[in-house]
């Protein structure tokens, strides 16, 4: 008798779990992980006073969760679906900064550089390395007018004979292999109407990562 009772209990439990798993598969199959995780936010936490018996606790939890999910689905017009939220996130229009905004941000970066404390030894070594690296870049018309290094950043001012030349060659300043391994950023100012003559643009070198590594200069012979 006792064996029959135990077997009956086991069958009942397995059937319950099977139905639960089937329901879960039906509702989750093919959905992205993120969506599943987000869906779980719709489910209430397991109540603190839940029974301690694991089977009863599990069934109670699943029942509560299913009821909550059903309610959420019924109120779908009020509760934004996860899919829609993801679509909304992707559908946010790209707000690309204008040329003026980029120039303004670059000017701010130059100002931050100017206000950086001076590490004379580092500044001297790094300035000399940059000056050497940019002293003769093949097939270009620019000249390095100033190299100013502080403690983790440098500002290199380039001058081109014309705005057209600057537009054509600005990328060479980013590409030029350098002994100091720094991130580099440059913005060529927009031309004023009727502007002629030389044009200057400032490259900001962010050497913070390189400084953390001890500022090891690459040998010139190893640079392509």
């Amino acid at each position: 008798m006792s064996r029959v009772a135990a077997a009956g209990t086991t069958v009942a439990v397995v059937l319950t779990l099977g139905v639960s798993a089937g329901f879960w598969l039906f509702t989750h199959w093919g959905r992205p992980v993120a969506a599943s995780a987000a869906h779980s936010e719709l489910l209430p936490p397991v109540p603190a006073h839940a029974p301690r018996d694991p089977i009863v606790s599990w069934n109670a939890m699943r029942t509560t969760q299913m009821e909550a999910r059903l309610a959420a689905l019924e109120a779908r017009t009020e509760v934004k679906s996860v899919e829609t939220e993801l679509e909304d996130e992707r559908a946010v229009p790209r707000v690309v900064p204008s040329a003026s905004e980029v120039e303004q941000a670059h000017r701010a970066a130059i100002e931050r550089h100017r206000s950086e404390p001076l590490n004379r030894r580092w500044a001297s070594t790094t300035s000399a390395a940059f000056s050497t690296d940019y002293s003769s870049v093949k097939d270009t018309t620019f000249a390095v007018k100033e190299v100013d290094c502080r403690s983790t950043t440098c500002a290199l001012e380039f001058e081109w004979p014309s705005h057209e030349a600057a537009v054509a060659e600005w990328k060479r300043t980013l590409i030029q292999p350098t002994q100091a391994n720094c991130g580099r950023r440059i913005v060529v100012p927009q031309a004023d109407p009727g502007q002629t003559g030389p044009v200057r643009a400032t490259l900001i070198a962010d050497c913070s990562t390189w400084v953390e590594q001890g500022s090891p200069l690459a040998s010139q012979s190893s640079l392509p």
Binding site: R90, R184, Q190
Partner: protein, 172 residues
């Protein structure tokens, strides 16, 4: 005795059920989207025409600058990249092969590049381009600019040129 056996049976069944359900919930959380691009994906951006041959720089005296685009789409955002590797064959014993991530600004005239990574010695290997420093990472992750990998191939000194084999990207 019967109560104890029943309790044990229940606990065993409950534990098995939790394991099975946990497996179902785990889903494919480790799934990643990996893309490899062979060298023709890249192009000779600066330098002598026809110097970029089968991914290699055949110039005997000059280096060659190669650029490879990094796609940024609605479903696969550039900022989610977890790996960006350049596979190369450096045949120049003195000069390194360099690679770095860069962006061109969409509206303004300019751009930025991150730290450079370089080959160490001759041979076939791979290197991960870094998403540093933080000021560059901000540009790279902004999804507002056009991203690419820049590779500088050293000149050919022996019978074989230094060459790029391709790019490998992994995104979660």
């Amino acid at each position: 005795m019967f109560q104890l056996k029943l309790l044990s049976t229940r606990r065993i069944v409950a534990a098995l059920a939790l394991i099975v359900t946990g497996t179902l919930f785990a889903e494919d959380s480790n799934a990643a989207y990996a893309v490899s691009h062979a060298y023709p994906y890249c192009q000779n951006d600066f330098g002598v025409p026809n110097a970029f041959l089968s991914g290699g720089n055949i110039l005997p005296a000059n280096s060659l600058i190669i650029t490879c685009p990094v796609t940024d789409s609605t479903d696969i955002l550039r900022k989610t990249l977890t790996t960006l590797s350049v596979y190369y064959d450096d045949e120049n014993s003195t000069t390194n092969l360099l690679a770095e991530r860069c962006v061109d600004y969409e509206n303004a005239i300019g751009g930025s590049c991150g730290n450079t990574v370089s080959s160490s010695g001759t041979g076939v290997s791979s290197m991960n381009t870094l998403n540093t420093p933080s000021t560059f990472a901000a540009d790279w992750n902004a999804n507002l600019h056009f991203g690419y990998v820049l590779v500088i191939l050293p000149n050919q000194t022996g019978s074989a040129p230094s060459r790029i084999k391709g790019l490998f990207e992994v995104r979660p």
